[in-house]
């Protein structure tokens, strides 16, 4: 029974992840698990002090915790299920190496969040699993599909199966794939040696649910005819049963009911009860240390110079709220990057400071931001990227392009290049007569920073035209269209400055490819 529920949860998670591009057509939000994760929404709330609907989505799991503690961990958590499926031979004798460190970690996270640093996404199981799917499973699946197609393509060519012989698969690339692989493989290897060690020792979501369980009223009970055979002690996957069968830590019990099943005399049952729960034996000094560590981490990371002046190029997704609130809200799940059709959304390493690792940025050299798409905002579980209608999204200016005249083929080498102009969706790049030839200029009021110019620039290496965050519009609330109006931006598709040629000027203003008479 439990296994079936677990598998159903895992399948639902996988299905929602795979179908996330169809966000609007699904009955359930594709980020359901992330939204329902109370750790993520609470820490985003604490760090950003903004109410977001995900706080409400988190309530059901908090309620189950009130009744039955870490029921979620044993029955629903997709990462927990995977860990169970991928466990090696259970090593029953071994105690978890770091007992109850998850509680200290939770205290650390809470202290950091209070000071505005949201680190929960790095260690939360749902965020971790979503990240692993985005950076490993998804590109790997595409690679394998592409390889499969390459294997059958010669046959398709030969048999003249036109559609198959033209099949193409988009291959996403991500800058932190290797790091994600290392972290994930390490966790699964450790899990193989010590099943569910993560859940037992580190998972802060488990710690949060376990804490709440102290006032729970669905408890494990052992009847008096127990003859202390100790079978239940050994069958408990989380070692929640202490050295004597009738003592257990509700904060670590995942309600798998293995102990009840395995009891030869049926002395164990789970029922409504209001026992005084065994207190987690926390060391006060360690708790203080954890809180101090969280405080110190928040201080050190948030007061890094980069928080005040960021010298790096950092272009956030369209609709990203102002940077401070953004970093406090983003839980680094990677869903936005998975959905990005052009692959321009990439995880930060250090571009937004050490606390911003895995948060999304645009790599406009790799690709531009599709002006017919507003998907990234539809799957952000904490509202760090706002859900915007397409027209609003187009006005959420990402930054501004600038030409490096020392590298530009036209400015520096007098070549007949126009590729950036050709690709600009807004005619923000125009050619004007300057020093005897036509040269590209950027109209900053028409540039919304989409970055296609930078992607296609034929200059090798660094592009001769680059987008930076200069002029970006980041709003907590309100309309981007209104804001753009206020700033006198014209993010409209019209002929723009190219019309200058139309006004009957002298004939040398014709394109270079035409000999003037």
């Amino acid at each position: 029974m439990r296994r079936w529920v677990q598998l159903a949860g895992l399948c639902l998670f996988g299905l929602l992840f795979a179908l996330s591009p169809l966000a609007e057509k699904l009955l359930l939000p594709p980020d359901l698990f992330l939204k329902a994760d109370p750790l993520l929404s609470l820490s985003a709330f604490l760090a950003s002090r903004r109410f977001h609907e995900s706080l409400l989505y988190g309530l059901p799991i908090l309620l189950t915790a009130l009744v039955a503690g870490r029921f979620f961990c044993g029955w629903l958590c997709p990462l927990g299920t995977l860990f169970e499926l991928a466990a090696g031979k259970s090593s029953k004798k071994k105690k978890p190496p770091f007992p109850q460190w998850n509680l200290y970690l939770l205290v650390l996270l809470a202290a950091a969040a209070l000071l505005g640093l949201n680190l929960s996404g790095l260690v939360d199981p749902i965020a971790f699993l979503t990240r692993a799917c985005t950076f490993i499973l998804y590109p790997l699946a595409m690679l394998l599909t592409a390889t499969g197609i390459e294997i059958v393509r010669p046959v398709a060519d030969y048999l003249h199966l036109v559609t198959l012989s033209h099949a193409q698969v988009f291959q996403p690339v991500f800058s932190l794939i290797l790091l994600t692989v290392i972290v994930s493989v390490a966790l699964f290897v450790l899990n193989y040696r010590r099943p569910r060690f993560w859940c037992r020792s580190f998972c802060p979501l488990g710690a949060l649910l376990g804490l709440i369980s102290r006032i729970g009223f669905f408890r494990r009970r052992v009847k008096s005819h127990c003859h202390s055979c100790m079978k239940c002690v050994h069958s408990c996957p989380t070692r929640a049963i202490l050295d004597e069968p009738w003592q257990y830590r509700p904060g670590e019990c995942i309600y798998c009911t293995a102990c009840a099943t395995d009891c030869p005399v049926h002395a164990v049952s789970f029922s409504l009860a209001r026992d005084p729960a065994a207190r987690p034996d926390l060391k006060r000094r360690r708790l203080m240390l954890s809180a101090a560590a969280g405080t110190l981490a928040a201080f050190a990371i948030r007061k890094d110079g980069i928080a005040k002046v960021n010298p790096n190029r950092l272009i956030r997704p369209p609709g990203a709220i102002p940077e401070t609130e953004f970093q406090a809200s983003c839980v680094r799940c990677g869903q936005c990057m998975k959905l990005c059709p052009t692959n321009t959304l990439q995880p930060c390493l250090l571009e937004s400071g050490i606390g911003g690792i895995w948060s999304p940025r645009l790599d406009t050299r790799l690709a531009g931001c599709d002006q017919t798409c507003a998907l990234c905002g539809t799957v952000c579980p904490t509202g760090a990227i706002r859900t915007l209608p397409l027209e609003e999204k187009k006005h959420a200016k990402l930054g501004t392009a600038a030409i490096d005249t020392g590298r530009c083929l036209v400015w520096a080498q007098d070549r007949l290049c126009l590729i950036c102009d050709e690709q600009c969706p807004y005619n923000a790049i125009v050619f004007r007569w300057k020093d005897g030839s036509r040269k590209p200029f950027i109209l900053d009021t028409k540039c919304n920073g989409c970055g296609f110019c930078e992607q296609v620039c034929p200059v090798q290496g660094r592009s001769a035209i680059e987008v930076s965050q200069h002029g970006e519009i980041r709003l907590l609330e309100g309309s981007y269209i209104e804001k753009a109006k206020e700033l006198k931006l014209e993010l409209k598709e019209n002929a723009g400055d190219d019309a200058f040629i139309m006004q009957g000027g002298p004939s040398e203003k014709l394109p270079e490819g035409v000999i003037s008479k």
Binding site: D157, Y158, L159, H160, V162, T163, H166, Q168, P341, T342, A367, G368, D370, Q371, T372, C373, L409, R415, L416, C417, L418, I419, D421, E422, Q423, C424, P425, N427, F431, R438, F452, Q455, V456, P458, V459, E493, N494, A495, G496, D498, A499, I501, M502, Q503, G504, S507, K509, L510, P511, E512, G513, V514, I515, S516, K517
Partner: protein, 310 residues
């Protein structure tokens, strides 16, 4: 899926083998460079674009003259931009669909509509309306490709600007190549018509802009690709802001068809007052360069122009 009969299989194998062995002959640039010129004939038909396409093709001999029974046809429209038809940056979907139907009716075994578009590729196919317009036509497939493996290098022996280009394989393996350009301005080359449109068939477009004289390179490219027929969609013309627009759109309502790439492009130049001024075909450097290579004539006095109205 349709069952493959033995006869079918043998036929297809034969066609495929023939197609695979033919290209070197088709693409011998020496040949096309030196081809002697007869007086070119083109058709220019004004009116409703669907009827105009049909009329123009029939004026120059009918599609059967170009498309033999069982042949593989490759259509190269402009569908490089994720824009809707109104913007006049892509060939009108009705023009593409009409030509595809004419080919199938003439007995083509297969029609492949192909382009190497800009980002995002799938959206170009969708927003241009071409995928939808051609969806119901039998044995007709519209593809956008964006992977280098669909290209094949072709050496250009006599090339001054180009020594080699990577061309879309389908172009090399087709029996008939029909260009379906849309008429638009171009901020570098002045206009983008049939010959300029061939840049959509090559992998390294950046090279044209960054490393060589783009006007001469286009002419050499046009000499390399064996284009059997050009049908220019002048139902609309993007007068400025080209090639990507947005810009002023005018409606010459004219379809131009012919086998002489240079003559068709030359007539295309006269369709509109580009950049508010207009110019003669000989003023457009890549068209003049193509004439110099002996690809055709841009002197419209030397061309028989069959005009009609529908």
């Amino acid at each position: 899926m349709k069952q493959i009969t033995r006869r079918d299989f043998l036929q297809k194998t034969a066609v495929f083998t023939a197609a695979a062995t033919l290209p070197p002959a088709l693409f011998d640039p020496l040949k096309s460079w030196a081809e002697p010129l007869a007086k070119a004939t083109i058709a220019a038909v004004t009116g409703n674009r669907v009827d105009a396409v049909k009329k123009a093709v029939s004026l120059i001999g009918g599609m059967e003259k170009f498309v033999k029974k069982g042949s593989r046809v490759c259509l190269k429209p402009n569908m490089s931009f994720p824009h809707e038809p109104d913007r006049a940056t892509n060939t009108h979907p009705e023009v593409v669909a009409t030509v595809a139907r004419l080919c199938i009716d003439a007995g083509a075994a297969e029609v492949i509509i192909i382009d190497y578009p800009f980002n995002p590729p799938e959206k170009c196919l969708e927003l241009s309306g071409i995928a939808a317009a051609c969806a119901g036509i039998k044995n007709t497939h519209a593809f956008v490709i964006y992977d280098e493996k669909f290209f094949q290098p072709v050496a250009i022996k006599n090339g001054k600007e180009l020594k080699e280009v990577k061309l879309i394989k389908d172009v090399l393996h087709s029996d008939v190549i029909i260009c379906l350009p849309t008429a638009k301005s171009h901020s570098t080359t002045g206009v983008s018509l049939g010959m300029k449109g061939l840049m959509g068939l090559i992998w390294d477009r950046k090279y044209f802009h960054a490393s060589v004289d783009i006007n001469k390179a286009i002419a050499e490219l046009a000499a390399t690709v064996k284009v059997n027929l050009v049908i220019l969609d002048g139902s609309r013309a993007l007068l400025n802001g080209g090639p990507s627009g947005p810009g002023l759109v005018e409606y010459p309502k004219t379809i131009v068809a012919g086998t002489d790439q240079v003559a068709v492009d030359a007539y295309g130049v006269t369709l509109a007052k580009w950049y508010g001024q207009g110019f003669t075909p000989a003023q457009v450097k890549h068209i003049a360069a193509a004439q110099q290579l002996g690809l055709g004539t841009c002197n419209l006095d030397e061309v028989t122009i069959l005009k009609a109205q529908v």
